[in-house]
Symmetry: C2
Subunit: 226 residues, 2 copies
DNA sequence: CTTTGTGAATTGGTTCACAGCT
DNA sequence: AGCTGTGAACCAATTCACAAAG
Protein backbone atom coordinates (compact mmCIF):
# COMPACT_ATOMS: atom_id res chain seq x y z
CA UNK A 1 0.00 0.00 0.00
CA UNK A 2 1.36 3.37 -0.85
CA UNK A 3 1.05 5.90 1.87
CA UNK A 4 2.04 9.03 0.05
CA UNK A 5 -1.15 10.87 0.45
CA UNK A 6 -3.35 8.79 2.65
CA UNK A 7 -2.26 9.86 6.09
CA UNK A 8 0.21 12.69 5.92
CA UNK A 9 1.71 13.08 9.36
CA UNK A 10 1.20 16.80 9.63
CA UNK A 11 4.15 18.19 11.58
CA UNK A 12 2.00 19.97 14.08
CA UNK A 13 -0.36 17.35 15.43
CA UNK A 14 0.15 13.66 15.06
CA UNK A 15 -2.55 11.40 16.27
CA UNK A 16 -1.71 10.38 19.75
CA UNK A 17 -3.30 7.60 21.61
CA UNK A 18 -5.38 8.48 24.60
CA UNK A 19 -3.51 5.98 26.69
CA UNK A 20 -0.07 7.29 25.87
CA UNK A 21 -0.99 10.70 27.18
CA UNK A 22 -1.87 9.06 30.47
CA UNK A 23 1.72 7.89 30.56
CA UNK A 24 3.30 11.19 29.54
CA UNK A 25 2.72 12.65 32.98
CA UNK A 26 4.33 9.62 34.52
CA UNK A 27 7.37 9.79 32.26
CA UNK A 28 7.68 13.42 33.12
CA UNK A 29 7.66 12.78 36.82
CA UNK A 30 10.41 10.19 36.64
CA UNK A 31 12.48 12.25 34.26
CA UNK A 32 12.29 15.29 36.47
CA UNK A 33 13.48 13.30 39.42
CA UNK A 34 16.32 11.72 37.49
CA UNK A 35 17.29 15.04 36.01
CA UNK A 36 17.36 16.45 39.48
CA UNK A 37 19.65 13.62 40.49
CA UNK A 38 22.02 14.54 37.69
CA UNK A 39 21.19 11.82 35.19
CA UNK A 40 21.64 13.31 31.75
CA UNK A 41 20.73 10.35 29.60
CA UNK A 42 17.90 7.88 29.90
CA UNK A 43 16.88 4.84 27.86
CA UNK A 44 13.49 3.45 26.96
CA UNK A 45 14.36 0.37 28.98
CA UNK A 46 14.89 2.42 32.11
CA UNK A 47 11.65 4.32 31.73
CA UNK A 48 9.83 1.12 30.97
CA UNK A 49 11.11 -0.52 34.08
CA UNK A 50 10.18 2.46 36.23
CA UNK A 51 6.60 2.45 34.98
CA UNK A 52 6.39 -1.31 34.65
CA UNK A 53 5.65 -1.23 30.93
CA UNK A 54 7.25 -2.55 27.78
CA UNK A 55 10.23 -0.65 26.38
CA UNK A 56 8.80 -0.63 22.88
CA UNK A 57 5.76 1.06 24.32
CA UNK A 58 7.94 3.77 25.75
CA UNK A 59 9.65 4.35 22.42
CA UNK A 60 6.33 4.48 20.61
CA UNK A 61 5.12 7.06 23.07
CA UNK A 62 8.22 9.17 22.90
CA UNK A 63 8.25 9.03 19.12
CA UNK A 64 5.25 11.35 19.24
CA UNK A 65 7.54 14.03 20.57
CA UNK A 66 9.71 13.91 17.47
CA UNK A 67 12.93 12.05 16.86
CA UNK A 68 14.62 12.83 20.12
CA UNK A 69 16.25 9.47 20.66
CA UNK A 70 19.92 8.88 19.92
CA UNK A 71 20.38 5.37 18.59
CA UNK A 72 22.95 3.54 20.65
CA UNK A 73 22.71 6.17 23.38
CA UNK A 74 19.23 6.94 24.62
CA UNK A 75 17.43 10.20 25.20
CA UNK A 76 18.78 13.39 26.68
CA UNK A 77 16.87 13.87 29.89
CA UNK A 78 16.55 17.65 29.64
CA UNK A 79 15.41 17.53 26.06
CA UNK A 80 12.78 14.94 26.84
CA UNK A 81 11.49 16.96 29.75
CA UNK A 82 11.21 20.08 27.64
CA UNK A 83 9.44 18.24 24.86
CA UNK A 84 7.07 16.47 27.22
CA UNK A 85 6.16 19.63 29.03
CA UNK A 86 5.54 21.34 25.76
CA UNK A 87 3.44 18.52 24.41
CA UNK A 88 1.41 18.21 27.59
CA UNK A 89 0.89 21.94 27.61
CA UNK A 90 2.45 22.38 31.03
CA UNK A 91 5.27 24.61 29.87
CA UNK A 92 3.18 27.51 30.97
CA UNK A 93 1.08 28.50 33.98
CA UNK A 94 -2.48 27.20 34.25
CA UNK A 95 -4.89 29.00 36.49
CA UNK A 96 -7.60 27.04 38.21
CA UNK A 97 -10.48 27.69 40.54
CA UNK A 98 -11.72 25.29 43.17
CA UNK A 99 -15.39 24.89 44.02
CA UNK A 100 -16.23 23.26 47.31
CA UNK A 101 -13.96 23.85 50.26
CA UNK A 102 -13.82 20.53 52.05
CA UNK A 103 -10.92 18.38 53.06
CA UNK A 104 -10.34 17.29 49.50
CA UNK A 105 -9.99 20.86 48.34
CA UNK A 106 -7.62 21.57 51.19
CA UNK A 107 -5.54 18.55 50.25
CA UNK A 108 -5.28 19.78 46.69
CA UNK A 109 -4.47 23.34 47.67
CA UNK A 110 -1.74 22.22 49.97
CA UNK A 111 -0.13 19.76 47.60
CA UNK A 112 2.97 21.51 46.34
CA UNK A 113 3.28 19.22 43.36
CA UNK A 114 0.79 21.39 41.56
CA UNK A 115 2.64 24.66 41.69
CA UNK A 116 5.78 22.81 40.68
CA UNK A 117 3.98 21.69 37.55
CA UNK A 118 2.76 25.16 36.77
CA UNK A 119 -0.72 25.04 38.22
CA UNK A 120 -1.93 27.86 40.39
CA UNK A 121 -5.18 28.21 42.24
CA UNK A 122 -6.69 31.63 41.84
CA UNK A 123 -10.14 31.29 43.32
CA UNK A 124 -11.90 29.34 46.02
CA UNK A 125 -15.66 29.05 46.23
CA UNK A 126 -18.21 27.54 48.55
CA UNK A 127 -21.89 28.14 48.99
CA UNK A 128 -21.72 27.54 52.74
CA UNK A 129 -22.09 30.99 54.30
CA UNK A 130 -20.08 29.84 57.31
CA UNK A 131 -17.09 29.27 55.03
CA UNK A 132 -17.40 32.40 52.93
CA UNK A 133 -14.85 34.94 54.00
CA UNK A 134 -12.53 32.40 55.60
CA UNK A 135 -8.94 32.26 54.46
CA UNK A 136 -7.84 28.83 53.27
CA UNK A 137 -4.27 28.29 52.13
CA UNK A 138 -3.91 31.96 51.39
CA UNK A 139 -7.14 32.37 49.48
CA UNK A 140 -10.40 33.85 50.65
CA UNK A 141 -13.43 31.64 50.22
CA UNK A 142 -15.93 33.41 47.98
CA UNK A 143 -19.57 32.94 47.16
CA UNK A 144 -20.27 31.08 43.90
CA UNK A 145 -22.02 34.25 42.78
CA UNK A 146 -18.59 35.72 42.26
CA UNK A 147 -17.55 32.98 39.84
CA UNK A 148 -18.13 34.85 36.57
CA UNK A 149 -16.26 37.91 37.75
CA UNK A 150 -13.31 35.99 39.15
CA UNK A 151 -12.98 33.74 36.14
CA UNK A 152 -13.11 36.70 33.82
CA UNK A 153 -10.59 38.62 35.90
CA UNK A 154 -8.12 35.81 36.41
CA UNK A 155 -8.61 34.15 33.03
CA UNK A 156 -8.79 30.84 34.86
CA UNK A 157 -9.31 28.02 32.38
CA UNK A 158 -9.54 25.04 34.72
CA UNK A 159 -11.87 24.24 37.59
CA UNK A 160 -11.87 21.60 40.27
CA UNK A 161 -15.32 20.50 41.37
CA UNK A 162 -15.24 19.10 44.90
CA UNK A 163 -18.82 19.63 46.03
CA UNK A 164 -21.46 17.06 46.99
CA UNK A 165 -23.06 15.20 44.11
CA UNK A 166 -26.35 17.05 44.41
CA UNK A 167 -24.75 20.40 43.62
CA UNK A 168 -22.18 19.29 41.11
CA UNK A 169 -24.17 19.62 37.89
CA UNK A 170 -25.37 23.11 38.79
CA UNK A 171 -21.84 24.13 39.65
CA UNK A 172 -20.58 22.70 36.39
CA UNK A 173 -23.23 24.59 34.44
CA UNK A 174 -22.20 27.81 36.14
CA UNK A 175 -18.57 27.13 35.34
CA UNK A 176 -19.36 26.47 31.70
CA UNK A 177 -21.41 29.65 31.53
CA UNK A 178 -18.48 31.53 33.02
CA UNK A 179 -16.27 30.28 30.23
CA UNK A 180 -14.19 27.62 31.95
CA UNK A 181 -12.48 25.23 29.53
CA UNK A 182 -11.86 22.14 31.61
CA UNK A 183 -13.26 20.53 34.74
CA UNK A 184 -11.67 18.07 37.13
CA UNK A 185 -14.65 16.44 38.80
CA UNK A 186 -14.50 14.65 42.13
CA UNK A 187 -18.23 14.48 42.67
CA UNK A 188 -19.62 10.98 42.27
CA UNK A 189 -21.75 11.48 39.20
CA UNK A 190 -21.37 11.74 35.44
CA UNK A 191 -21.35 15.43 34.57
CA UNK A 192 -23.03 16.50 31.37
CA UNK A 193 -20.92 19.11 29.64
CA UNK A 194 -20.88 20.68 26.20
CA UNK A 195 -18.25 18.99 24.12
CA UNK A 196 -15.99 22.01 23.98
CA UNK A 197 -15.41 21.72 27.73
CA UNK A 198 -12.94 19.01 28.69
CA UNK A 199 -13.58 16.69 31.57
CA UNK A 200 -11.50 14.48 33.81
CA UNK A 201 -13.36 12.61 36.50
CA UNK A 202 -11.93 11.05 39.62
CA UNK A 203 -14.27 9.05 41.78
CA UNK A 204 -12.61 7.91 44.95
CA UNK A 205 -15.34 5.46 45.89
CA UNK A 206 -15.00 3.81 42.51
CA UNK A 207 -11.29 3.41 43.03
CA UNK A 208 -11.74 1.74 46.37
CA UNK A 209 -14.38 -0.57 44.92
CA UNK A 210 -12.01 -1.37 42.14
CA UNK A 211 -9.42 -2.38 44.66
CA UNK A 212 -11.88 -4.48 46.62
CA UNK A 213 -12.79 -6.24 43.41
CA UNK A 214 -9.18 -7.00 42.55
CA UNK A 215 -8.63 -8.46 46.00
CA UNK A 216 -11.95 -10.25 45.77
CA UNK A 217 -10.86 -12.32 42.78
CA UNK A 218 -7.16 -12.16 43.41
CA UNK A 219 -4.99 -15.23 42.97
CA UNK A 220 -4.85 -15.77 46.68
CA UNK A 221 -1.95 -18.17 46.38
CA UNK A 222 1.25 -16.35 45.39
CA UNK A 223 2.45 -18.64 42.62
CA UNK A 224 5.83 -20.13 43.48
CA UNK A 225 7.26 -19.07 40.15
CA UNK A 226 9.95 -16.40 39.91
CA UNK B 1 -25.44 -22.62 18.12
CA UNK B 2 -24.39 -25.17 20.57
CA UNK B 3 -22.18 -23.97 23.34
CA UNK B 4 -21.86 -27.17 25.23
CA UNK B 5 -18.18 -27.68 25.37
CA UNK B 6 -16.19 -24.99 23.67
CA UNK B 7 -16.14 -22.30 26.28
CA UNK B 8 -18.03 -23.62 29.22
CA UNK B 9 -19.05 -20.61 31.21
CA UNK B 10 -17.94 -21.99 34.52
CA UNK B 11 -20.41 -20.60 36.99
CA UNK B 12 -17.70 -19.19 39.19
CA UNK B 13 -15.41 -17.10 37.04
CA UNK B 14 -15.99 -15.96 33.52
CA UNK B 15 -13.34 -13.89 31.86
CA UNK B 16 -14.20 -10.29 32.38
CA UNK B 17 -12.60 -7.40 30.71
CA UNK B 18 -10.58 -5.13 32.88
CA UNK B 19 -12.37 -2.12 31.51
CA UNK B 20 -15.84 -3.40 32.18
CA UNK B 21 -15.07 -3.70 35.86
CA UNK B 22 -14.25 -0.01 35.84
CA UNK B 23 -17.79 0.55 34.70
CA UNK B 24 -19.44 -1.82 37.14
CA UNK B 25 -19.04 0.65 39.97
CA UNK B 26 -20.59 3.33 37.84
CA UNK B 27 -23.55 1.18 36.87
CA UNK B 28 -24.00 0.34 40.49
CA UNK B 29 -24.10 3.95 41.54
CA UNK B 30 -26.73 4.90 39.00
CA UNK B 31 -28.80 1.82 39.71
CA UNK B 32 -28.77 2.50 43.42
CA UNK B 33 -29.99 6.01 42.86
CA UNK B 34 -32.71 4.93 40.47
CA UNK B 35 -33.76 2.13 42.76
CA UNK B 36 -33.98 4.65 45.54
CA UNK B 37 -36.20 6.76 43.33
CA UNK B 38 -38.51 3.82 42.82
CA UNK B 39 -37.51 2.78 39.33
CA UNK B 40 -37.90 -0.98 39.14
CA UNK B 41 -36.82 -1.62 35.58
CA UNK B 42 -33.92 -0.24 33.63
CA UNK B 43 -32.71 -0.73 30.06
CA UNK B 44 -29.25 -0.89 28.57
CA UNK B 45 -30.07 2.25 26.65
CA UNK B 46 -30.79 4.17 29.82
CA UNK B 47 -27.61 3.03 31.50
CA UNK B 48 -25.64 3.77 28.37
CA UNK B 49 -26.97 7.28 28.22
CA UNK B 50 -26.23 7.90 31.86
CA UNK B 51 -22.60 6.83 31.48
CA UNK B 52 -22.25 8.18 27.96
CA UNK B 53 -21.39 4.82 26.45
CA UNK B 54 -22.82 2.53 23.82
CA UNK B 55 -25.81 0.40 24.78
CA UNK B 56 -24.29 -2.75 23.35
CA UNK B 57 -21.37 -2.15 25.63
CA UNK B 58 -23.70 -2.06 28.59
CA UNK B 59 -25.33 -5.33 27.58
CA UNK B 60 -21.96 -7.00 27.09
CA UNK B 61 -20.92 -5.88 30.53
CA UNK B 62 -24.11 -6.96 32.20
CA UNK B 63 -24.02 -10.31 30.44
CA UNK B 64 -21.09 -11.18 32.70
CA UNK B 65 -23.51 -11.17 35.59
CA UNK B 66 -25.60 -13.94 34.06
CA UNK B 67 -28.73 -13.71 31.96
CA UNK B 68 -30.53 -11.12 33.99
CA UNK B 69 -32.03 -9.21 31.09
CA UNK B 70 -35.65 -9.64 30.06
CA UNK B 71 -35.88 -9.27 26.27
CA UNK B 72 -38.41 -6.63 25.40
CA UNK B 73 -38.41 -5.36 28.97
CA UNK B 74 -35.03 -4.57 30.39
CA UNK B 75 -33.39 -5.46 33.69
CA UNK B 76 -34.91 -5.54 37.14
CA UNK B 77 -33.10 -2.85 39.06
CA UNK B 78 -32.93 -4.72 42.35
CA UNK B 79 -31.67 -7.87 40.76
CA UNK B 80 -28.96 -6.00 38.89
CA UNK B 81 -27.83 -4.27 42.04
CA UNK B 82 -27.60 -7.50 43.94
CA UNK B 83 -25.67 -9.20 41.16
CA UNK B 84 -23.32 -6.26 40.71
CA UNK B 85 -22.58 -5.99 44.39
CA UNK B 86 -21.92 -9.68 44.53
CA UNK B 87 -19.66 -9.63 41.50
CA UNK B 88 -17.72 -6.61 42.69
CA UNK B 89 -17.30 -8.21 46.07
CA UNK B 90 -18.98 -5.33 47.88
CA UNK B 91 -21.83 -7.41 49.28
CA UNK B 92 -19.82 -7.65 52.45
CA UNK B 93 -17.85 -5.36 54.72
CA UNK B 94 -14.26 -4.50 53.81
CA UNK B 95 -11.96 -3.21 56.50
CA UNK B 96 -9.26 -0.76 55.58
CA UNK B 97 -6.48 1.11 57.29
CA UNK B 98 -5.27 4.56 56.30
CA UNK B 99 -1.62 5.56 56.46
CA UNK B 100 -0.85 9.25 56.45
CA UNK B 101 -3.23 11.60 58.19
CA UNK B 102 -3.35 14.66 55.97
CA UNK B 103 -6.24 16.44 54.38
CA UNK B 104 -6.67 13.73 51.83
CA UNK B 105 -7.08 11.09 54.52
CA UNK B 106 -9.57 13.30 56.32
CA UNK B 107 -11.52 13.74 53.13
CA UNK B 108 -11.68 9.99 52.66
CA UNK B 109 -12.62 9.31 56.27
CA UNK B 110 -15.38 11.82 56.17
CA UNK B 111 -16.86 10.72 52.87
CA UNK B 112 -19.96 8.76 53.78
CA UNK B 113 -20.12 7.09 50.40
CA UNK B 114 -17.60 4.57 51.65
CA UNK B 115 -19.54 3.23 54.57
CA UNK B 116 -22.61 3.08 52.36
CA UNK B 117 -20.67 0.79 50.05
CA UNK B 118 -19.52 -1.41 52.88
CA UNK B 119 -16.07 0.00 53.52
CA UNK B 120 -15.01 0.74 57.05
CA UNK B 121 -11.83 2.31 58.29
CA UNK B 122 -10.41 0.48 61.25
CA UNK B 123 -6.99 2.04 61.71
CA UNK B 124 -5.29 5.36 61.20
CA UNK B 125 -1.52 5.74 61.15
CA UNK B 126 0.98 8.54 60.90
CA UNK B 127 4.64 8.74 61.73
CA UNK B 128 4.35 12.36 62.83
CA UNK B 129 4.59 12.27 66.62
CA UNK B 130 2.50 15.42 66.84
CA UNK B 131 -0.39 13.57 65.23
CA UNK B 132 -0.07 10.31 67.12
CA UNK B 133 -2.73 10.12 69.79
CA UNK B 134 -5.02 12.65 68.13
CA UNK B 135 -8.57 11.62 67.39
CA UNK B 136 -9.55 12.01 63.75
CA UNK B 137 -13.05 11.16 62.63
CA UNK B 138 -13.50 8.89 65.59
CA UNK B 139 -10.21 7.05 65.25
CA UNK B 140 -7.03 7.51 67.21
CA UNK B 141 -3.93 8.15 65.15
CA UNK B 142 -1.40 5.41 65.84
CA UNK B 143 2.27 4.96 65.18
CA UNK B 144 3.11 2.85 62.12
CA UNK B 145 4.84 0.48 64.53
CA UNK B 146 1.39 -0.70 65.52
CA UNK B 147 0.50 -1.69 61.95
CA UNK B 148 1.12 -5.43 62.24
CA UNK B 149 -0.85 -5.74 65.42
CA UNK B 150 -3.79 -3.69 64.23
CA UNK B 151 -3.97 -5.41 60.87
CA UNK B 152 -3.84 -8.79 62.54
CA UNK B 153 -6.46 -7.82 65.10
CA UNK B 154 -8.89 -6.16 62.70
CA UNK B 155 -8.24 -8.49 59.75
CA UNK B 156 -8.06 -5.39 57.57
CA UNK B 157 -7.38 -6.38 53.97
CA UNK B 158 -7.17 -2.98 52.32
CA UNK B 159 -4.91 -0.01 52.94
CA UNK B 160 -4.95 3.56 51.74
CA UNK B 161 -1.51 5.11 51.34
CA UNK B 162 -1.68 8.89 51.62
CA UNK B 163 1.84 9.74 52.71
CA UNK B 164 4.50 11.79 50.91
CA UNK B 165 6.24 10.05 48.03
CA UNK B 166 9.49 9.56 49.95
CA UNK B 167 7.85 7.37 52.55
CA UNK B 168 5.38 5.53 50.37
CA UNK B 169 7.47 2.55 49.32
CA UNK B 170 8.56 1.86 52.89
CA UNK B 171 4.99 2.10 54.07
CA UNK B 172 3.88 -0.23 51.32
CA UNK B 173 6.54 -2.75 52.25
CA UNK B 174 5.39 -2.65 55.86
CA UNK B 175 1.80 -3.15 54.76
CA UNK B 176 2.72 -6.11 52.63
CA UNK B 177 4.70 -7.61 55.48
CA UNK B 178 1.69 -7.15 57.73
CA UNK B 179 -0.40 -9.17 55.31
CA UNK B 180 -2.47 -6.51 53.61
CA UNK B 181 -4.06 -7.66 50.33
CA UNK B 182 -4.68 -4.46 48.43
CA UNK B 183 -3.34 -0.92 48.41
CA UNK B 184 -4.95 2.27 47.18
CA UNK B 185 -2.01 4.55 46.54
CA UNK B 186 -2.23 8.33 46.39
CA UNK B 187 1.49 8.96 46.60
CA UNK B 188 2.96 10.17 43.32
CA UNK B 189 5.18 7.23 42.51
CA UNK B 190 4.94 3.75 41.09
CA UNK B 191 4.86 1.34 44.01
CA UNK B 192 6.63 -1.97 43.63
CA UNK B 193 4.52 -4.71 45.15
CA UNK B 194 4.56 -8.48 45.07
CA UNK B 195 2.03 -9.68 42.56
CA UNK B 196 -0.27 -11.17 45.13
CA UNK B 197 -0.98 -7.71 46.49
CA UNK B 198 -3.41 -5.70 44.38
CA UNK B 199 -2.83 -2.08 43.58
CA UNK B 200 -4.93 0.84 42.50
CA UNK B 201 -3.12 4.12 42.04
CA UNK B 202 -4.63 7.59 41.96
CA UNK B 203 -2.31 10.45 41.19
CA UNK B 204 -4.07 13.76 41.50
CA UNK B 205 -1.32 15.74 39.81
CA UNK B 206 -1.49 13.43 36.81
CA UNK B 207 -5.22 13.97 36.56
CA UNK B 208 -4.84 17.72 36.54
CA UNK B 209 -2.11 17.49 33.91
CA UNK B 210 -4.36 15.28 31.90
CA UNK B 211 -7.03 17.93 32.00
CA UNK B 212 -4.60 20.66 31.04
CA UNK B 213 -3.53 18.56 28.09
CA UNK B 214 -7.11 18.05 26.92
CA UNK B 215 -7.75 21.75 27.08
CA UNK B 216 -4.38 22.42 25.47
CA UNK B 217 -5.32 20.59 22.29
CA UNK B 218 -9.04 21.00 22.58
CA UNK B 219 -11.10 21.84 19.53
CA UNK B 220 -11.38 25.44 20.62
CA UNK B 221 -14.19 26.11 18.21
CA UNK B 222 -17.37 24.28 19.24
CA UNK B 223 -18.34 22.76 15.90
CA UNK B 224 -21.71 24.06 14.73
CA UNK B 225 -23.00 20.55 14.12
CA UNK B 226 -25.84 19.12 16.15
C1' DC C 1 -42.62 -3.50 18.67
C1' DT C 2 -39.15 -3.33 22.30
C1' DT C 3 -35.07 -4.87 24.26
C1' DT C 4 -31.76 -8.50 25.24
C1' DG C 5 -27.60 -11.42 24.05
C1' DT C 6 -23.96 -12.26 21.07
C1' DG C 7 -21.21 -13.52 16.85
C1' DA C 8 -18.73 -10.70 13.46
C1' DA C 9 -16.46 -6.62 12.18
C1' DT C 10 -13.93 -2.82 13.58
C1' DT C 11 -11.18 0.02 16.07
C1' DG C 12 -7.50 0.79 19.30
C1' DG C 13 -3.42 -0.48 21.93
C1' DT C 14 0.53 -3.37 22.97
C1' DT C 15 4.27 -6.31 21.96
C1' DC C 16 7.51 -8.38 18.67
C1' DA C 17 11.31 -8.25 15.89
C1' DC C 18 14.48 -6.19 13.21
C1' DA C 19 16.60 -2.57 10.13
C1' DG C 20 19.43 1.31 10.78
C1' DC C 21 22.15 4.62 13.34
C1' DT C 22 26.06 5.65 16.72
C1' DA D 1 28.42 -3.64 21.03
C1' DG D 2 23.82 -0.79 22.48
C1' DC D 3 19.60 1.62 21.57
C1' DT D 4 16.14 3.87 18.74
C1' DG D 5 12.18 3.90 15.44
C1' DT D 6 8.70 1.40 13.29
C1' DG D 7 6.13 -2.01 10.32
C1' DA D 8 3.81 -6.28 11.30
C1' DA D 9 1.61 -9.34 14.34
C1' DC D 10 -0.96 -9.85 18.16
C1' DC D 11 -4.32 -9.04 21.63
C1' DA D 12 -8.11 -6.34 23.79
C1' DA D 13 -12.06 -3.53 23.71
C1' DT D 14 -15.86 -1.38 21.36
C1' DT D 15 -19.42 -1.11 18.08
C1' DC D 16 -22.43 -3.19 14.64
C1' DA D 17 -26.17 -5.75 13.36
C1' DC D 18 -29.38 -9.17 13.86
C1' DA D 19 -31.64 -13.41 15.62
C1' DA D 20 -34.38 -14.73 19.51
C1' DA D 21 -37.49 -13.66 23.37
C1' DG D 22 -41.19 -11.27 25.77
Amino acid sequence: MNKNDEVVPSPGEQRLSRASVQRFSLYLRHLERWNHEGQQIVSSGQLGEALAINDAQVRKDLAYLGNLGQPGIGYYTRELITALRHRLGVDRVWSAVVIGVGNLARALLRYRGFSQQGFQFVGLFDSDVKKIGQMVEGLEVLSPDALPKVIAATKAELAVVAVPAEMAQAVADALVAAGIKGILNFAPLTLKLPQHVSLVAVDLAVQLEQLAFLVHLSPSAPEPEA
